[in-house]
């Protein structure tokens, strides 16, 4: 296997009494899309900031392209593309000017930047908005401009912190399509996200964080197969406790009650669905187990602080 492009070893970070990152180690290999998922406060953004040398870990090390972060931060960042959680586009510049000004931070020559701008605008589907300022763009357009800006130096590795948060479905799908294109070009991506469909669609491998620790790691499908039964039947309405603990209980491997919904996790849903026909007024949904089920199983259903 190729040597890791990004390698975090035994990272720990404490803010006051709060251990935000707890002995976290992981690696990202060339051409791979590695997703970091976890509830609010799981340590995703702190880990992201440590990887960028913006936050100093209390212990542990980050190596990117074989160089140490933060001592070699400038050398590393010249080959890195970063999209942070909040847009930091220049509101006074047009889209094209945003790219030009950003390219200069990499020490690129004006001619080289100008040669890349039309390609990047096209990639971001913003050619028609070249002269528009960020204030005139939609949320999705702004995120794509942020992505285009992060590509100005033709980076090998992209670090994306929640790249589609706050976007509508159309804008999210367009963003995913672009990220897939980048992966096909051979770029590597480290991605944090709240969205399980995004993680499942884009990521080759996932890290599940909770309370700063890695609680699971693997390919999305493998993780689901490893931790969950393949079928889920959600049942709404009726007496949830009676449903969950009555005769139906024997037809599922595992049940879970959340609010007015009972979740039945089962190897085969057939018998359960037939039995449910005897319960009039109860609605049900049969679907395959997904990452969201895995996520909720591993991290629990309680609302996290700040959520």
């Amino acid at each position: 296997m190729n040597p890791a492009q990004l390698h975090c070893e035994h990272l720990s970070k404490r803010f006051g009494d709060n251990l935000v990152v707890d002995d976290l180690s992981f690696a990202l290999y060339p051409g791979e899309c590695l997703g970091v998922i976890g509830p609010n406060g799981a340590g995703k953004t702190t880990t992201f900031r440590i990887c960028l040398g913006l936050t100093a870990p209390d212990s542990g090390s980050v190596t990117i392209f074989g160089e140490d972060m933060p001592t070699q931060a400038l050398s590393i960042k010249s080959r890195l593309g970063v999209v942070s959680q909040f847009d930091s586009l220049d509101p006074d510049f047009s889209c094209a000017e945003n790219l030009l000004v950003y390219g200069r931070y990499f020490g690129m020559k004006r001619a080289n930047i100008n040669a890349r701008i039309p390609k990047l605008l096209e990639f971001a589907s913003l050619t028609h908005k070249a002269d528009a300022k960020p204030g005139e763009l939609s949320g999705g357009m702004k995120r794509r401009l942020s992505l285009a800006r992060a590509l100005i130096n033709d980076p090998l590795l992209l670090l994306l912190d929640e790249p589609t948060t706050g976007l509508d479905p159309q804008a999210r799908h367009l963003m995913w399509e672009r990220l897939q294109q980048l992966l096909q070009q051979g770029k590597s991506i480290l991605l944090t996200t709240h969205f399980m469909d995004e993680a499942e669609r884009l990521c080759d491998r996932l890290l599940v964080l909770d309370h700063g620790r890695m609680i699971a790691e693997g390919r999305p499908r493998d993780l689901i197969a490893q931790h969950l039964e393949p079928d889920v039947v959600e049942v709404y309405g009726g007496d949830t406790q009676a449903l969950a603990h009555g005769v139906l209980r024997a037809l599922a491997q595992r049940t879970e009650v959340s609010g007015d919904t009972v979740f039945f996790y089962t190897q085969t849903a057939q018998a359960l669905l037939q039995a449910l026909a005897a319960y009039p007024g109860v609605r049900s949904l049969h679907r395959p187990a997904n990452l969201e089920d895995l996520f909720l199983k591993l991290t629990g259903r309680q609302i996290r602080e700040g959520a």
């Binding site: 931060a73 400038l74 930091s88 586009l89 510049f93 950003y102 200069r104 931070y105 990499f106 020490g107």
Partner: protein
Amino acid sequence: MRLRFWPVFLRNFLVWRKMIIPSLIANIAEPLMWLVAFGYGLGALVGEVQLGAQKVPYIVFLASGSICMSAMNAATFEALYSAFSRMHVQKTWDGIMNAPVRLDDVLLAEMLWAAFKAIFTATAILFVMLALGIANSWKVLLAWPILLGVGITFSCLALIFNALAKGYDFFTYYFTLFLTPMMFLSGVFFPLDNLPEGVRWMATALPLTQAVSLVRPLFMDQWPEHVLVHIGILTAYAVAAWTIALHLTRKRFKQ
């Protein structure tokens, strides 16, 4: 070696170029209005100012002080409100630091940029003063490096408060407790000799007083005294303020 602060400085310059007209009015027209209103209006009442053994027309007295004050104000506004907008509101600094540019480079660029605004403002006012005949000695051109020094010193001082600010309201403290007293206690509007002794002693230690002491004789076609002392004090303020501002800014971003 690549000068990493330069593209950041250039970024600010490009934004400024887009709004040069309102910027010019704020930075140049306003100080000139002060000068004309007070210099000619109040000057008619005051006539000449006794400065040691000499008498100076009030307009010359005021012009030499107010150009220092204009440099101070231009640097201060830029390094407080504008730098804070870029650092905290627009997150421009965060974006820049994702590229191979360090926080120290960004802060240096902001400091030099505010100093540039100060020297640009002062230069424009200087030309108007020359055109109006308020300044008529070639020696006023030597005020230029001193005014650049004023710009650097006050942008460093303002960046300390920028690093500490939670919001724009915080800057009111700096203006009310520091800048406004400085304006009145540095010999810009009236000679320091008229102040009570305790206040005068304090006033001579202020950074703006050093600049006024250096610039005023040049407007009177004379050479300033104790040049090295004044430059030394101004430099000491700048170096100390820069060191503190850098330390506090690093602390702000380290979490």
